[in-house]
Amino acid sequence: MDEPVISVKNLYFSYNSVPVLENVTFDVADREFLAIIGPNGGGKSTLIKLMLGLLKPDAGQVRVFNKPPAKVSYCFGYVPQDVLVNKGFPISVFEVVLMGRLRHHRRARIGGSDREAAARALEIMGMRKYENHKIDDLSGGQRERVFIARALTIDPDILVLDEPTASVDTGGRAELYNLLKDLNRTRTIVVVSHDLMVMYSNATAVACVNRQLYYHDKGEITQDMLDLGYQCPVELIAHGQPHRVLKVHEDGS
């Protein structure tokens, strides 16, 4: 069997002695599209920060290509939550994308090859024509594409996105998921979302996080996950295609 890209074993984490994650164990295979879902405050963002090596676990371990994640941070393209960036900061789209190349060659400065990489990444995301716009002047969906472009500047093996559709309208979401599907051909993708739409277009595995983690290696949610993960039954509209999001109702009603 292939080595997993990311391997999480018996992971525990707490903020100020309040447990956030308990005994989390799962693997992410190469070219997987893992959707991490769960309620707000359930520990989704904390889990990916542990996977990225931005936080240190209380117990247990995270291995990325069999190494501690902080040692291989160049493998990660990271798209943080939109709400965490400094709104109103004067910066152009191109400068945001250039940020992706920081410390790429152990120097504080940015050079010509970095500018080329930024331009290429903008091209991939179809945002080249906006490169001189101020980032605040873009729509939520356009901004998200720019953040993905920034993550792609180092051609990462793993793309990690935290709530990429939080400020994107419904039409934009579908487009964004299609883009991610394309990117998934050449790299592993981990998406945190409480938008269940992520599942039925792309996901090859689903993990539901609510302090504990419930893993399902197909792109569908089981009723068990919903009950355990959300602590109450969740009504879902079964879109059916191409993945079922709900198990088939037994009584035909």
């Binding site: 004067p90 920081l102 410390r103 940015i110």
Partner: protein, 272 residues
Amino acid sequence: MIEALQFEFMRNALFAGLFASLICGVTGSFVVVNRMVFLAGGIAHAAYGGIGLALFLGIPYIIGTMGFSLAAALLMTAVTLRAAQRSDTFIGVLWATGMAIGIILTDLTPGYHADLMSYLFGSILAVPAADILWMLGMGAAALALTLYFYRDLIAISYDVEFAKLRGVPVRALYFVFMALVAVSIVFIIRVVGLILVIALLSIPPYIAEKYAGSLGMMMAVAVLLSAVFNIAGLWIAFIFDLTSGASIILVAAAGFFISLAVDPLISKRRRQ
């Protein structure tokens, strides 16, 4: 204005104002975009403890204030990075503690200390030539550091989580730049006094941010605006025989309110 420049103290004041503008525009922009205006205010006021200490021990003003404001800056930055939610309370406490220490140490020092007012409200007309050279050096240092770490500064100001992942030494940079702010404040106290420092540090970058397309542009515009405020304030103070520090700040404040009034007009025009 030209005749005023025949006096050496006016020439010194003009240079002090210009160099202070360079320092304020560059470090002030970093302070404003990182929402650390309150922290900068805390550093400035805690510096009063250093003034009292210098008076009490009979050591040069620069050494006392520099020590105090650097210590305050590093403590406040450490708390802000560690427990951001309640750091404002801590800053407020250090702010008041520094001032109280300054006042008590002054009480304990025999003699009459009329010149203390000049630290509160500035005395740009009495800035010695040596201090002006110091200010020039500081401005150059601030500019050099900013240029070298320019991309890192953008990253930690815009998206600190991403900067961390890319291996930017976020904490170290915050400490270095807040130390730079502390040292800057010590020199700007000479010009407008510690009570008014915060206005000169925050108003020009605030106005500049709205029109600038990048951090570098914001800094450049802030330096220019600050220079205009300084020269205009100095000129008004000279003509009407007013306190120079307060005149400079009132000009800056006028600029601030005019920019607020102009804002709706500009956004209206953009939409059309």
